[in-house]
Each structure stands twice: as C-alpha cells, then as structure tokens.
C-alpha cells in the first residue's frame, strides 16, 4: 500500500492574549491508502490542531503554522498542503479530503436543506448540474442508510436526530469519493448505540470505497474496534505510534500505559483498581525543553528533564518517544 499523506515536523502556534500557545511541537506521521489511522489524545494534546493545520482550517490569526510540510499524494499529483493557496486548498477540501466533525448541530447550516448542502459539494467538485446533483445526492443518502432519501433530501437539519445528522455529514464527506476522510470526534456526542451504528457505517463505506480514514478521538475503546494504526498525542507531540494490537498489548510509552490502566473495562474484573495518572496535562504556554510528560511520569529520571526524547523505533511500525524502555524496564542506550 502506498502512502498518500506524509507529514513532517509540523509546528503550529497560537498567538493569544494570554501568551503563545505551543500547540504542535514537531509532529510527523504517514498515512497509507485505505488505512484507518486513529489519533488519540486528551484535550489540549494537539490532535485536532494537527489535522486542522494540514488542511488550512486553523483560524489565523491567532494561529500560525510555523514549520513542517504535509505532502499529499493525491489523484491530481503530489503537493505540500501547507504551501497551497486558499483556492487550491478549497479544491482539495471536500474533493479529495472529506470531513466529519463532532457536532452535527454546528457543522450543518441550519437554514439550508441538507439536500442543498450535499449538492453544494457535488456541484463544486464534480461539476454536476442541479438535476444530476439531486439524483446523486439521493443515492448518497440511501448509501448512508437514511430512510426515504428522496423525501428527506429536502428536510432541514433540525428535522434529523443527532445520529441521522452524522450520517448526512458522512454522506457529504464521501460524496466526491475523496481519498482521505478526516473524522474529528465524530461519535463523541452520540449515544453508545448510535455510535455503534455510525462506526459500522464508516467501516462499510471504507471497505466499499477504499478511503483512508483519520479518526480523532479520546476514546480508546472505539479505537480498538476501528483502527489499523494508532498515534498517541501528548503535549503537542506524538509520543507513541504502533499497530493497534501492539499498542494495546505492548504499550511502550508511560503515558499510553497510564491511559490504558486508567480505563474501566467491561471485560475485566470489578475489583480491578483504576490507576490514575497523577497531575494535570501541560498548559502549552511555555516551550518545553524537556519531555512533556516528565511531571506525571513514574519512570522519570535525570535525562528527562533536560532533553526532549525523540521517537525511537522499537518495532517495525512501533515508535515511542521515551528514554525509558518499559518492556525491558531499563533506560535506553541510544
């Protein structure tokens, strides 16, 4: 499988009244064709910011992308997304990269019918005329499982439930058969049974259309059922990346391990104690010269306070940004 997205050393900062927020401090990753990449992190970790930076959706001011590149090997050739003009980006967004956001209430225009909103993207990117767009739009609604699509095409967003609205968003996202769909917490606001429906839909569409999906979430349960590979973010950096099985069975970064131990599990015994991670996440207002997790880490030692650990290659696909080897329980030599 070839790579369709390569991000290197992405740096994003926000210049606010409270000071400079160092939101992303050198993020790198790749995405292969048809792959599902999960991005996991808590609030403030930079997971959403990294995706929004790549596609030019960071409000600027106060945000500024200060470094890095995002090579997109699209169907129209390779380009660095960070260097595209607004017009070129507008072509990419919706056409080659689709989006599904968390809150369908705010991402769908409440005063336009959903039919109009689907047609908008079809007309813009595929050049369909009104009638063609409508026909295709109804097809899409059926594809995502909306009953009576020819009737519902003319409904307004408020006439749909939360789960239905997300389906509409997914229809819009895949309307132009993009290569990548970026889903930013798409099921966080949904009930768990509706979430199951939506995840199921996503998987079916992905199988059928061969789309690569970047799924941003804080829910490690959803990731386990969805992802091929996982990136773990902390303090504006990627601290671990691995294939999904490896991440859950052999986490190598203390933060990942901490997260897994702090999760309640339906399949585990009740007497299992949740091990919380002490302390609070960093506030990103100071540029760090040390590991962002140092204050909360149980394995911290001298070096952690003076250097930022790079991503060490610890397996074929497995990387961990930590000076300590959790598995061997010793400090790395490198």
């Amino acid at each position: 499988m070839s790579e369709i997205l390569q991000v290197k050393d992405l740096i994003t900062r926000f210049y606010t009244v409270d000071g400079i927020v160092y939101a992303l401090n050198g993020v790198s990753f790749e995405l292969s064709e048809g792959e599902t990449l999960a991005i996991v992190g808590e609030s403030g970790s930079g997971k959403s910011v990294s995706m929004m930076s790549i596609v030019g959706l960071i409000p600027s001011p106060p945000g500024r992308i200060e470094g890095g590149q995002a090579l997109f090997h699209g169907s129209q050739g390779t380009s660095d997304l960070l260097r595209l003009s607004t017009k070129e980006l507008n072509d990419v967004r919706g056409g080659q990269i689709g989006f599904v956001f968390q809150d369908p209430q705010t991402s769908l225009n409440p005063v336009l019918t959903i039919g109009r909103q689907i047609a908008e993207t079809l007309t813009r990117h595929l050049g369909l005329n009104g009638k063609q767009a409508r026909a295709r739009g109804v097809e899409l609604l059926a594809e995502v499982g909306i009953p009576d699509p020819h009737l519902r095409y003319d409904n307004y967003p408020f006439e749909f439930s939360g789960g239905m609205r997300q389906r509409v968003m997914i229809a819009i996202a895949v309307a132009c058969r993009p290569q990548i769909v970026i889903a930013d917490e798409p099921t966080t606001a949904l009930d768990v049974t509706i979430q199951a429906q939506v995840v199921d839909l996503f998987k079916r569409l992905q199988d059928k259309l061969g789309i690569a999906v970047i799924w941003i979430t804080h829910d490690l349960g959803v990731v386990a059922g969805l992802a091929d590979r996982v990136l773990v973010y902390y303090g504006g950096r990627v601290v671990e990346t691995a294939k999904v099985d490896d991440l859950y069975e052999h986490p190598l970064h203390p933060y990942t391990l901490g997260l897994l131990k702090a999760l309640p599990r339906l399949d585990m015994h009740e007497s299992r104690r949740l091990v919380s991670i002490e302390g609070t996440p960093p506030d990103l207002l100071t540029p760090l010269q040390q590991c962002p997790f140092a204050w909360r880490c149980n394995h911290v030692f001298e070096r952690c306070w003076h250097e930022i650990p790079p991503l060490y290659q610890v397996g074929v696909v497995h990387q961990s940004a930590c000076f300590y080897d959790l598995e061997k329980e010793e400090i790395r030599d490198a």
């Binding site: 609030s43 403030g44 002490e278 302390g279 609070t280 506030d283 140092a294 204050w295 911290v300 306070w305």
Partner: protein, 308 residues
C-alpha cells in the same frame, strides 16, 4: 529540577494567587493592552480632578459678572488675552472657570442620577427576575412602557411639569433611567437563576434570601458597573440637552447645558460660547464610554477565564 513530589496529587494551579499586588498587576496589564481603556480612565480622572480642585485651577468666580470684559474671544484669537484663556461669555464671566465648575454639576447630576437609577432599577429587576410570575408581569409592564417612550420627550415633559432645580434633575434622571437597569438586572437574574451553582445552593438547603443576596447579586456587579458607566455618560448628554432648552438646573448654576443655552443666540457671532462647553461634553462622555467599554472587557473574560 526535582520532580515536585507533593503529598497531594494536584499542586499546580492555573494561575498565580489572587493577592492584591497580583490583582493590580493584572489590571494594569489589561489596561496596557487596551490603550483606549487607559485613555478613558485618564479622561475620567481628569474631569474628576477638575471638578474637585476647581478653586485651585482657576482664580475666577464662575458667577462673577464683568460687563467691561464681556464677549472676549479666546486668548489665541485676535482681541483675546491670556487673562481669560477661553474668553468670556455675554455677561463677562470667564469661560474657562465656568467650564471647570460646570464639571461639578455634570458629574454630580450624572453620578447621583445613575446611583438612584441603579438602586431603583436593580431592586425592581431582582424581584421581577427572581420571583417571576405575576410579579414579573406587574413590574415589567410599566418598565417596558417607559423604555418604549422617546426618552428626551419624556424627560422634557416631566421637567416642564416639575420645574428647574438641581434636585429635580437628579430625580428625573434617576427615575427615568431605572428601567434600563431593571431590564438588565431581570435578564441577568433569569440567566443566573438557571445556572448550576444556584441549583447547587438550593440542593445545599439555601433559602430565598441567601440565594438572592449571596449568589445572584455578586454576579450582577460586573454588568451593572458597566451599564452604570454608560448611563453616566448618557446623563451628561441629557443634562446638556435639558439645559439647552432651558429645563436643567437653574440658570445661576454653571452647567454645560446652561452654557449652551446662554450661547445659543450667539452661535455665529461668538461661537466659542457654545464650542467649549460642547467640547467638554463630548470629552467627558467619550471618556466615560471608553471606560465603560474597557470595564466590560475586564469583567467578562475574567469570569470566563476557565481553562479546559
């Protein structure tokens, strides 16, 4: 750096402690970032200063009539002299000192007027918002009625009926401006009443008065002070308006409005008679508005300063 192995898990807080020094520093920082706030503050202070120290700033009695030196233009124009910096009016009274002393009247009227309006308005708004139901309807009906009347006409009408006196002007402003405070207060009370911390107080067993005075009232102060500042600015204007048509304080009392009235007949011949009081009104109003804008920013983001 040692890992601060505190005995308690979260020892790092989001901001520095709220000592007086830090508070002042924080406010100073806010002022500095928002220069218009500085300007507003300076203007406000300058007017207050002028009002307080009037006798030390100018040697002339604002009421002293001097027909020999009447209608003198400002010092920098032909015919003027530096004895009367801003010239004299038709009765020979020194313009500069009249302007300075008028500040007293304007500030007094607008401050006390705003005070009465706020006390009355907040009281009504609190009851309407918190008790609700029929009380709300009974109180808000006249309030909304007054608010929908053309203000200046309304004030002129009452002033005509009551006559000219300092007390009357203050009372008029106080009563006719209370509806704005009532409406703001009522809106805020309705909003705060539904907030989670009020529900928390109820669940803790708090009674009516406690919730009203300890929970709701302190959270009203921010928007109230902001509104009061804007109302003071408005009242300065209204006093001028009333004075211009001869319904403000008695003519013997120096006020910017009265000065405008005095100079009205000489608009083209001796323009400085109206220009300077006009400028003084604009200057003071502008200052209060800038101050009010800044105050609104001070109170708002502070409350929403929660980090996630």
């Amino acid at each position: 750096m040692d890992k601060a192995l505190s005995i308690r898990p979260d020892d790092n807080l989001l901001s520095k402690e709220r000592t007086l020094k830090n508070q002042l520093g924080y406010i100073g920082g806010l002022l500095w970032r928002d220069r218009s706030g500085v300007i507003g503050m300076l203007i406000f202070l300058s007017v207050v200063f002028a009002a307080l120290f009037a006798p030390f700033i100018t040697k002339y009695d604002p009421l002293a009539v001097d027909f020999e030196h009447s209608k003198l233009p400002p010092a920098w124009q032909q015919g003027g002299n530096f004895e009367h910096l801003l010239g004299t009016d038709d009765l020979g009274r020194d313009m500069f000192s009249r302007i300075i002393y008028s500040a007293r009247v304007s500030l007094f009227v607008s401050f006390i007027g705003a005070l009465i309006a706020s006390i009355l308005g907040v009281g009504l708004g609190l009851i309407a918002g918190y008790v609700g139901g029929r009380m709300d309807a009974i109180i808000m009906a006249p309030v909304n009625l007054v608010l929908s009347l053309p203000y200046l006409l309304f004030v002129v009408f009452i002033a005509t009926v009551l006559g000219r006196s300092l007390l009357n002007v203050i009372l008029i402003f106080g009563i006719t401006n209370s509806p704005i405070f009532a409406r703001l207060t009522r809106g805020e009370v309705l909003r705060i009443r539904e907030s989670a911390y009020v529900e928390s107080a109820v669940s803790a067993g708090a009674r009516f008065w406690r919730i009203l005075l300890i929970h709701i009232l302190p959270n009203l102060i921010g928007p109230l002070i902001t509104l009061a500042t804007f109302q003071v600015s408005a009242m300065i204007f209204y006093e001028a308006g009333l004075g211009f048509i001869g319904l403000s304080v008695p003519p013997s009392v120096p006020s910017w409005g009265n000065m405008l009235a005095d100079g009205r007949s000489y608009l083209s011949s001796y323009p400085w008679l109206t220009t300077f009081p006009g400028l003084a009104i604009v200057y003071t109003s502008l200052g209060m508005n800038l101050l009010g804008d800044w105050l609104r920013d001070v109170f708002d983001p502070k409350l929403r300063r929660s980090r996630r």
